[in-house]
Symmetry: C2
Subunit: 195 residues, 2 copies
DNA sequence: GTCTATATTCCGATAGAC
DNA sequence: GTCTATCGGAATATAGAC
């Protein structure tokens, strides 16, 4: 049996719309329509639109950060494979949910109070654990720089997609191919700045 | 004499609030209060909130893109100096206007119709013109990759500031120092991935 | 739990006096 | 050009019947 509860319907619809249009631009009526449920049920289950948004974002944010966290802290994976794995994970995720990161980051920077409870120690990356596995151990780069640079190179094209396209650097229909081909290049680039 | 017209007051207030909170979260009453003018004057001078937003963003976007464009296309600057100059410009700009890019990018991805007239050919970067000035001319990297990577490394920490801080990679009060020290590193990194 | 109907607030925009 | 007052609609949220 495959029963989807009303609560789940709301979460799924809210997730889709919040990620596509952001918090303020998404109305409770939009969510109710998308979920095919009665408007009043949103408040019945989640008390408020703000609370619903928190639940949605909290879950997505957890996934995003735990992906990096778990891969980085696994001592049985080589540094190269860590880079490959994270690149693969994020590229695929953002190809599916293009607006996910930009909406979350925007809401985080613009509406900080919404996230007072969300940004907790749960998400802390205690020790990046990546550089030390490289053969050339005493490279000039720090773990922090390494992680930030890797994430920059992976994530930026998605965040700036609209500008990249309108500036003529990449055509809209070539974008997907570009970020896919980019995956192997990123590994190469990261390795070269580490040496 | 230093007369600030009502029109200018509105533009300044709108710029500040739109960039800080985004389009939908900023109300016309907020703008009127911030500008210390009467609510009705916004429509008197700018017809609509949407039109006011367009004027504000169009100007900021032009600055952002023309900065890269003009530096890249100047044949009298070496590639290294181009990187230094763009890094310097963007880091300083984003230190002043932290939310500028994230708000524009979010609105671009979420509210595309607002930008139908804004993203024109004015912003096209016809030819990046950067790699060819490097000594090692036949490196594996394309001009497009080079520009995108440079912008990634410069801009990402600002866009993802909230996440970087809450993940514990950098402390909030160390952030400014970090991005300033990062400027020299970026040049080094870009050069190393180009060779 | 789910519905209809409505309360309440907020927003962008405008009419009309000065 | 600037003001007050208000329109018309959309938004979140809730009361109360079923």
């Amino acid at each position: 049996m495959n029963i989807i509860t009303t609560e789940q319907k709301i979460i799924m619809a809210a997730n889709k719309l919040f990620i596509r249009k952001g918090y303020t631009a998404t109305g409770t009526r939009d969510i109710a329509d998308e979920a095919n449920i009665n408007l009043a049920l949103i408040n019945y289950y989640f008390d408020s639109k703000e609370n619903l948004f928190k639940e949605v974002v909290q879950k997505e944010l957890k996934t995003l950060l735990n992906t990096v966290k778990s891969i980085l802290s696994d001592e049985n994976i080589t540094s190269e494979d860590k880079i490959i794995s994270i690149t693969e994970n994020y590229t695929n995720l953002l190809l599916e949910k293009e607006h996910l990161l930009i909406v979350i980051l925007n809401e985080l920077s613009v509406n900080k109070k919404l996230f007072a409870n969300i940004t907790q120690s749960t998400y802390r990356i205690r020790k990046p654990m990546i550089k030390k596995q490289f053969e050339d151990n005493n490279s000039g780069i720090s773990d922090t720089d390494l992680v930030i640079n890797m994430m920059s190179l992976i994530v930026f094209p998605f965040i700036a997609k609209s500008l990249i396209i309108s500036s003529g650097l990449i055509n809209e229909n070539e974008f997907e191919e570009y970020v896919i081909r980019r995956k192997e290049k990123i590994l190469k680039w990261i390795i070269s700045i580490t040496k």
